[in-house]
Subunit: 480 residues, 2 copies
């Protein structure tokens, strides 16, 4: 909303109420929705709260809004009634589309994170701001003249970046690719979206790990896919389970995160990998290898990927900069047969006409320079330290409540709650005390687990955060 014009003859409160009425009539605040609190709006518009109070009174007088005691100022439900045929029924349109909304449980956590900046965040599987290569990026933009072509780019991505990735993937992950077998995407998310939309059809059966990050992806639901689970054991999934699922459901694709699996942190045992690839090849089923974490390996020697030992060409490899540099760059890559890359690139032209050249140019300079290795080294040591701090606190504060296995890479620790505890209640108790985590059920696991991300909080938030979590535990156990 625009700040009122102090030079205008019209009183401030009236400017505000008029502007607000316009927004409401235009459906920006749908009937039943709440206007910003008087305090918040006053801050935003830089006026006295009393001015906003007056403006809202004006709107109440016009019968456009109502005060709901305790909850604030709500847009009257009969607004759309007033002009039944003068505005499209946006609510109907909005509820029409084919996209499944995100999990309410997930939304609850996101909500809390949006509203309470002070809260200690063990929920988001993301890097903290100080782990982003801020300086490197500033430096590249300042020192290297931007010279990329500003017209429409190659549908499969900025060629120099793809060429750099050929060397990058071979050198660091022993993955062999060609410029033609790489598609640059807006992070892993877009790689997965394109695969589901273009290579699978509604009704197709796919296999995912259980528990799995994918469980929370309404993407599968939006694509109309039938999901079947591959239980994740100590050493990852059992290849034989794929055979079983295939016999029962004719699964058409397998989605795996073999290295430092999200959320469990498990590493798919080497002995299982050959078998897995053999089975996939015999069944002719592609494996989508989602690999966000390999380059975070704390011991500085990234593990093998499935793609690097895939002799049959069954693996679609999905990587990105999100967890090894910065998610906001939205740079990811898919390594796939050329026919697949071309199909997906062609389909993406219909969705967004390809990626912006600017972050691709930036990523190319970053990955092609020493800046990446410097950053990478710092990142791995920081993550390793953060896990160390979290483990120490967990051992001190919750030795009898939680069991877990330390990870050698990734951003998360997967914890099992020893006693029977309602993890939903636990979450609410934790939120009350200023800390938030991801309940295991968000990943489709049975109740009694939680995922703690050590990457997101700052080093000095970790100990206090775990204490708050401990208090939440105690509060609950006392109640029981």
């Amino acid at each position: 909303m625009r700040k009122p014009d102090r030079t205008s003859k019209k009183p401030l409160y009236q400017q505000i109420s008029d502007e607000m009425e316009r927004s409401i009539i235009h459906g920006e605040y749908p009937p039943g929705s709440f206007l910003p609190s008087e305090r918040k709006l006053a801050e935003r518009l830089e006026v006295n709260r009393s001015t906003v109070v007056q403006a809202y009174e004006e709107l109440r007088a016009r019968g456009i809004v109502e005060s709901i005691s305790g909850s604030g100022t709500m847009v009257s439900n009969h607004i759309w009634g007033i002009r039944p045929n003068l505005t499209p029924n946006w609510r109907q349109y909005v509820e029409g589309g084919t996209f499944a909304p995100n999990l309410p449980y997930l939304r609850r956590v996101r909500e809390v994170l949006r509203e309470r900046e002070s809260i200690i965040d063990f929920a988001s599987g993301e890097l903290s701001a100080d782990l982003f290569p801020n300086e490197a990026i500033k430096q590249i933009m300042r020192d290297i003249p931007f010279e990329a072509y500003l017209g429409y780019d190659d549908p499969s991505g900025y060629l120099p970046l793809r060429e750099t990735l050929v060397g990058f993937l071979e050198e660091r992950l022993r993955i062999r690719a060609t410029e033609a077998s790489i598609l640059i995407t807006s992070g892993s998310q877009q790689s997965l979206y394109l695969i589901m939309q273009c290579l699978l059809a509604p009704g197709d059966a796919v296999a995912i790990e259980d528990p799995s990050y994918y469980y929370s992806l309404s993407m599968f639901q939006s694509a109309g896919l039938r999901i079947f689970r591959l239980p994740v054991k100590e050493n990852g999934i059992d290849p034989e389970d794929i055979m079983t699922l295939y016999r029962q459901h004719r699964i058409r694709m397998i989605f795996l995160n073999p290295n430092y699996q999200n959320p469990t942190g498990t590493f798919l045992h080497a002995s299982k990998r050959e078998a897995l690839l053999k089975i996939a090849a015999e069944l002719g089923i592609p494996i989508v290898e989602d690999d966000p974490f390999s380059l975070t390996s704390f011991d500085h020697s990234p593990p093998d990927t499935l793609k690097s030992i895939d002799t049959h060409g069954s693996v679609l490899y999905v990587g990105s900069l999100s967890k090894i540099a910065a998610s906001g760059l939205r740079i990811g890559w898919l390594v796939a047969p050329q026919a697949v890359v071309q199909r997906l690139a062609d389909a993406r032209q219909q969705m967004d006409f390809g990626l912006s050249i600017v972050p691709q140019w930036l990523a190319n300079k970053f990955l092609g320079s020493e800046l990446f290795d410097q950053h990478s080294h710092f990142l791995r040591d920081s993550l390793s330290l953060k896990q160390h701090l979290m483990i120490r606190s967990l051992q001190q504060e919750l030795p009898d409540q939680l069991s877990f296995t330390p990870v050698r890479g990734g951003l998360n620790i997967w914890c099992k709650i020893k006693d029977k505890l309602d993890d939903q209640k636990l979450l609410e108790e934790a939120i009350k005390r200023g800390v938030v985590f991801m309940p295991g059920t968000v990943f489709g696991s049975e109740p009694g687990h939680l995922r703690l991300s050590f990457a997101r909080p700052s080093t000095d938030e970790i100990a206090p955060g775990i204490s708050k979590l401990a208090q939440a535990f105690h509060a609950l156990t006392q109640k029981c």
Copy 2:
């Protein structure tokens, strides 16, 4: 494909044939597809052509490829036969998905443009490289320290950019919006994609202009929408036609490009706009106003938009930087009711997790500074000059063959062919002579029209290009 290692003991030709065999087995060159020409590959790998010839002979010897006289080296069709159950049948997967491929006719033109860089391009409705704000962008990146947060961004886009757009849209186009009613997208393409995917359901009927840029958008087809036409007259569409279509087909949305319509360049007459909005409001049908060109107005005073006079809130306004700055930035905006913005932003999280922060930061600095106005002024004068040059050549070279109306904005002239001529044949004749244009049928118009873009070619290509076009005309008329 990677350059061979000259330090290796393995002979170059063998390195190349091995690498190529690997690519073929991994499906990067599917059976029946052609390998790069020996000359091209030699250039790319920086080896003698004879080395590539030797490598291809090796592959022939192994029975992996065949020479097709005249057309080159083809991957043998029985390759997949060899390992029927050892590689996923990528072809099947690729042909499976739900996305409709782009128009073959359009592809033909794109193909020609990819293959023949020297060709004079009147086909692409894009700016020439010299019209992009290259210097401004270099300057911003060099001089302004990048300070935006590198984590996941607000789903509806970088807040500072949305705030800048509130002022930008009001000042330049008299469009009133709030940060909350703006969604930043990857160009108009993504705005349209999100609208179709999230606000409409398969089977829904929509109305588009005839002829129309939309006709060539397989997007509609991919979304399963039924398309009905609104004929574009001298002063744009007739609002009454909407009433008729609604009665017959219960259309749920209207897609319009009222200012300098693509391809006809028509301007929807002011007298028709009120009527249009009234009808849409009465029927409760949203109008999607696609407005790529308003800010190119040659007389430096952008015309009114539908959105600016929309008192009912029926208009979803779609704009972007693609035609007024640079398409490669992939920055666009949708102005819509907050409920719609939220729904679309939420759905996009599933597709690409939002836009990269870098181009959004850049666009904000650009739109918020004088750099944009300087660029904008230069752009409009250049476009106006380019149209002038094209019109002069057309009058000199094809006075009796083509009729057209000059435009006051946009990038294209819409020409009617006076005599009956097969425009497909004309296109091929033109391509032979080194010039390419868009046949009207690509936009769904009846045969006998062509769209000439004056924005794409350089000023000194325009006259020669039109002469080549004239030669194509003469060649054809002589034949008849």
